[in-house]
Amino acid sequence: MPDSEMTDERLMAYADGMLSDAEAAEVEAAVGREPLLAARVLMFRETAARLADLSTALKADVPAGLEDRVRALAAETNTPDPVVDLSAKRKARQVPLWHLPLAACLFLGIGVAGTLLLRKDVSEIDHALHVTGLEHPAFLAALDDLPSGKSREITGGGEVAAIASFTNAQGELCREIEYRPLAGRTIVSVSCFEETSWSVRFAVAAATADDTGYAPASSLETLDAYLSASQAGAPLSPDAEAAALGKLP
């Protein structure tokens, strides 16, 4: 191979040990013949050595704070998500879904803080419930005895449907019930039995549809968020549910 093919890059790669054995042998032979090539290789080696010395001398302190922050970051990213996979649960309940516009949902936001106790005596029920329709006696009756997966007609039109029962983080028995009036919005609600009576913990109003069916996916997202926040347990089996309901005062 003519020495003119011994470019600087080639000599450098040889000096840096980046060539294959065959190529290195070729370069070595050329370097042996030509002192100018040898001087060039030496220069590459010398500069590499000087820079390596510099590298050793350039200590970069990693402050303890930086390492601690990185460890904290690593720990954060490692924490598994404690939220239960509710979409799987929902499938287990076999709830059919409407396709409704997302804007149709109205979250009533009763929530855990503002619980409303449902009393058997209708006249004592909080007026606010009237808006939701949850004060209807059929709703209360459904909580007490309608098995999940079943629905029941309401006198005056419409129906209630029991979706699922579960226990929450406090060990209370809770039920997801849908109340579908003839006119007005369907209410998806979660009520929990608190010592002596049911109290509505969550409610979301979904838009009505012309055909009968269950609440749309969009309202279920809010419900799922509530369920995960309250650490809802898995839906009870029909037997377990019947037993739990039977034990209520």
Binding site: E9, R40, L58, A60, L66
Partner: protein
């Protein structure tokens, strides 16, 4: 995210810091740069191919992070006295003084090179990346890396009085 991944990154923090300093020339800024690059690395773990070395992958993230920061703040022009970048232990004896002087000269020569030559030299001759790894980090062809490296070392040799 695996514990091994984060443990390996923590081991590389000193290298990351050193590279960060070579980019932004300020130790305090370098810490922030390393931290934000590590955050990005954690978020992008799924795009890391365990078959390649972790260090070049991290360096590329760090360098791109720096380019973003520099573009936003236009701090590219910050100059730091080349001498102050050196952190050398106290010396006694002639040999040490000579060594110290030589290191100072080498560092000064390096800092005075054109940026495109300096960055390949830092990656390959100081940070021990291969030509290909440097090419991946800088997002340029390997051939370009090699020609810049060769020219840079020639220029360095000239400044340091090394026979070429």
């Amino acid at each position: 995210m695996s514990d091994q991944f984060s443990a390996n990154i923590i081991k590389l923090l000193p290298n990351l810091k050193r590279f960060a300093i070579s980019l932004c020339r300020r130790p305090d800024l370098a810490d922030d740069l390393v931290q934000s690059a590590v955050e990005r690395a954690f978020r992008s773990q799924s795009s890391y191919d365990p078959g390649i070395r972790l260090e070049p992958w991290l360096f590329r993230i760090l360098r791109n992070q720096w380019i973003d920061v520099a573009r936003r703040n236009q701090t590219r022009g910050v100059e730091v006295d080349a001498e102050t970048a050196l952190d050398l232990p106290a010396v006694d004896g002639v040999r040490d003084i000579e060594a110290r002087l030589m290191l100072g000269k080498t560092n000064a020569a390096l800092q005075n090179l054109p940026e495109e030559q300096r960055e390949v030299m830092i990656l390959i001759c100081l940070q021990e990346m291969t030509y290909k790894e440097a090419a991946d980090i800088l997002e340029i062809p390997t051939g370009t890396v090699m020609s810049r490296l060769a020219r840079g070392r020639l220029a360095l040799a000239e400044k340091l009085g090394i026979n070429q």
